[in-house]
């Protein structure tokens, strides 16, 4: 039928060598046992060795670095905004130790005579005078020249004894 029939017959006369009897036994035990890797005669499987996984470590380190950088930038930004928020707070109080009294001014701008009055435990009459005053206290810092001035109203009532002559 073809030119190779004689050659094919020659090839078929070649008989492959029989495998070892042990192979059948090994397959039998492998099929009987749990589904694991088969026992081997010449090829021993390597034991699992610890392999350091660089890729996850790299990703982890990169993520940690990014997080630290982000936190750092956030802190920097908050620091840059700090003067704006600080401007809303009151300035620190000036130390009074650096100020020395520079003057006191009393201006009486109204006086009124309220007539004679008799005290309950005395027969001698007394004249009552009511005066309104504005007092101004002033301090000065000799080093900087800064001044502090406080002004407030004051009302004073005086009882003046009246002689009987």
């Amino acid at each position: 039928m073809n030119d190779f029939s004689e050659l094919e017959d020659q090839l078929r006369k070649l008989r492959p060598a029989r495998p070892s009897a042990e192979l059948s036994t090994r397959i039998e035990s492998a099929l009987a046992g749990p589904e694991t890797s088969p026992a081997t005669a010449a090829v021993l499987r390597r034991e699992r060795r610890f392999h350091f996984k660089w890729l996850p470590l790299g990703f982890g380190l990169a993520a940690a670095t990014a997080l630290v950088l982000f936190a750092f930038v956030r802190l920097q930004q908050q620091g840059a905004r700090a003067p704006r928020t600080a401007s809303t707070t009151p300035p620190p109080a000036i130390s009074t130790a650096q100020l020395v009294p520079a003057g006191l001014t009393q201006v009486v701008y109204h006086t009124r005579d309220e007539g004679l009055r008799f005290r309950s435990n005395s027969e001698q009459p007394m004249r009552r005078l009511r005066s309104n005053t504005r007092e101004t206290l002033q301090w000065r810092n000799p080093k900087t020249g800064a001044t502090l001035r406080i002004s407030y109203p004051r009302e004073e009532v005086s009882l003046i004894p009246v002689s009987g002559q």
């Binding site: 050659l7 020659q10 492959p16 060598a17 192979l23 010449a42 090829v43």
Partner: protein, 163 residues
């Protein structure tokens, strides 16, 4: 080999298939022991998955896959096998029981065949696979399998002193 297809007892199946399977596995291994390891792993895998024993193409494809995995598993082994395959067959000798010198010369001529032709010849002659099954096992077309078979025979005929 025909009764193998209907026999579900693995021992009977295996006893009839084993010589051809080991011979086929030796395409990728240097020693008979390595080839037997490949056949063991492949046959156990095939049998555990309850594949139909009639699907011989799948059985031989499993052997081929396990053999290639074995080569890749160990880099030293891979280098050794690659060297062996590229050295044109000196180390990948089919294991035959010789009866005379003419058979020895035939095996020597077989060793000179390219790998792709020799594996088709092995499946066709000593494992009695059809071209359809060979195509399934090797992942090639039937026409390619038939062509490689013819090329192999032609090369053998050319290399033999007298046929």
């Amino acid at each position: 080999m025909e009764n193998v297809a209907t026999d579900e007892n693995w021992k009977i199946c295996f006893s009839q298939l084993a010589p051809g399977l080991v011979l086929f596995a030796r395409q990728w291994t240097r020693s008979a022991a390595d080839a037997e390891d490949v056949v063991q792993e492949a046959f156990v895998k095939f049998w555990r998955r309850n594949h139909d024993i009639k699907n011989r193409g799948l059985l031989y494809a499993t052997v081929r896959s396990v053999a290639i995995d074995l080569i890749r598993r160990d880099s030293r082994r891979e280098r050794r096998e690659a060297t062996a395959l590229s050295d044109s067959d000196q180390s990948v000798q089919p294991a035959f029981d010789f009866q005379d010198d003419s058979q020895r010369a035939l095996v020597a001529a077989l060793d000179l065949l390219p790998q792709e032709q020799r594996e088709v010849l092995t499946l066709k002659i000593w494992n009695e696979l059809t071209f359809a099954e060979i195509a399934s096992a090797l992942g090639i077309s039937q026409n390619t399998a038939a062509s490689r078979y013819r090329y192999a025979l032609a090369a053998l005929k050319k290399n033999l002193p007298s046929t």
